[in-house]
Symmetry: C2
Amino acid sequence: MQKKTVKRRDAGASAPPSLQDERQANDGEGGASDQEIYERIITSIMEHRLPPGTKLGEDKLAKIFGVSRARVRQVLARLALERVVVLHPNRGAFVAEPTVEEAREVFEVRRPLEALVVRRIVAKKDPAIIARLRAHVEAEEAARAARDRRAIIRLSGEYHVLLAELSGSTLAARLMHELASLTCLIIFLYDAPTVPACRDQEHSEITQALADGDEATAIRLMTEHLEHVEACLDLSRGRPEELDLEAALAD
Amino acid sequence: MQKKTVKRRDAGASAPPSLQDERQANDGEGGASDQEIYERIITSIMEHRLPPGTKLGEDKLAKIFGVSRARVRQVLARLALERVVVLHPNRGAFVAEPTVEEAREVFEVRRPLEALVVRRIVAKKDPAIIARLRAHVEAEEAARAARDRRAIIRLSGEYHVLLAELSGSTLAARLMHELASLTCLIIFLYDAPTVPACRDQEHSEITQALADGDEATAIRLMTEHLEHVEACLDLSRGRPEELDLEAALAD
DNA sequence: TATCGATAAATTGTCGACAATAGCGATATT
DNA sequence: AATATCGCTATTGTCGACAATTTATCGATA
């Protein structure tokens, strides 16, 4: 057992704010750190490569990431606390399937939280913040131009996380990270087939209002943006499976 | 004592099966559940029996609760994710010491969140909810009459958690639970020696406004309540230790 | 005597092994 | 032939032991 694993785990309490999508070849051999495993899993979930309901077997993940099962277990526990996965006792971990109620609650909490973030950003009046926001919006537009739907959804959520991080409130950033992950799951579960594709435009407009220091407009645009996203969802019916099951039994 | 090179710890042959009997270690069963351990620790933290900065040794907690270290470790990890404890790598777990910035962020997020909860409660118009709130306020008054300052602080925070739970939003309840725990830590760290003792009164008034279905008044009272609590704190200076250290070094 | 270095002790991090439980398939029975 | 029961397998839950790192103590030396 002479693995030269010189893992530097610095500051477990500080979450790296920067979000990077590096698909490093740590599959099979070479250990991955907890943070890497966490980000790989949650990115896959946000991009819907792991659909809601997917079983996340501990042994399989351990093999995939080339680490021990205990490590995977820790990451799974963290994801469960963030409600991105659910843990069934003695059954294992599954990608969460938020109910309609939970979906509404997420948007309900996000509205005032996003307004708070916007107020903080406007109060800062920092050109560097605007620059980073513009760069992110450009990345979103690039993904949209490339028709990379998965990246579009993920980047769209990450815009709000970036906003919260740049606002300077670590608490708001943490909450937004969790809510954005859940929102990605919700969108994939309930989004109507017709993609509105209006979100990039709105992110750009919000960024512009922030650049102008127009707080009222920024908050209004943000609120409308969230309402648009929620309106594009089909929350009138239950989960697909539940609906199918009910319908099948009704016949 | 002729233990010169004793590396194995099982050499003593002291049977560990029933060491540290389970007098108050476990809450009734042969072993404490994760949830029980979690609640015991967080209640102690909220009541300031575990002051900020206290080291939470894994082995000690394992002995105290009569469970294995792995179990304690899980609970500690959960508390760390809730930011009630901080984990220093290779150093252990400590009760968190929120900074002034973090304290302000907590109140900043609580304000709109509490308003959201109040709106939900008013919309429900459920007499059972009012009854439970009144019962809780009575418990607060009883603790106040008994001069049980620790219980007062804990119950004061739990009033808001109860409010969020009764509002029907599991998400809001979860967030409020975390924010209330942090608020308890903040109050113990920064509360001025002069106890205002105005909180019970305000909880009662808020409950009355909710009973009347007066949303505007309830939100106003709640907002003012939070502002009062925050105003009673001494957030103008840093943490006591930091302040002392800085002052000492300045000379 | 004070500072620096080395050794010792205690605590945390990690892992593999064992036990328990749920799911599934085979089998036998009505 | 359909169903209920029993046993098997695969996966999760738990634990104790080992390794690594930090902290404390002690001794040597200038």
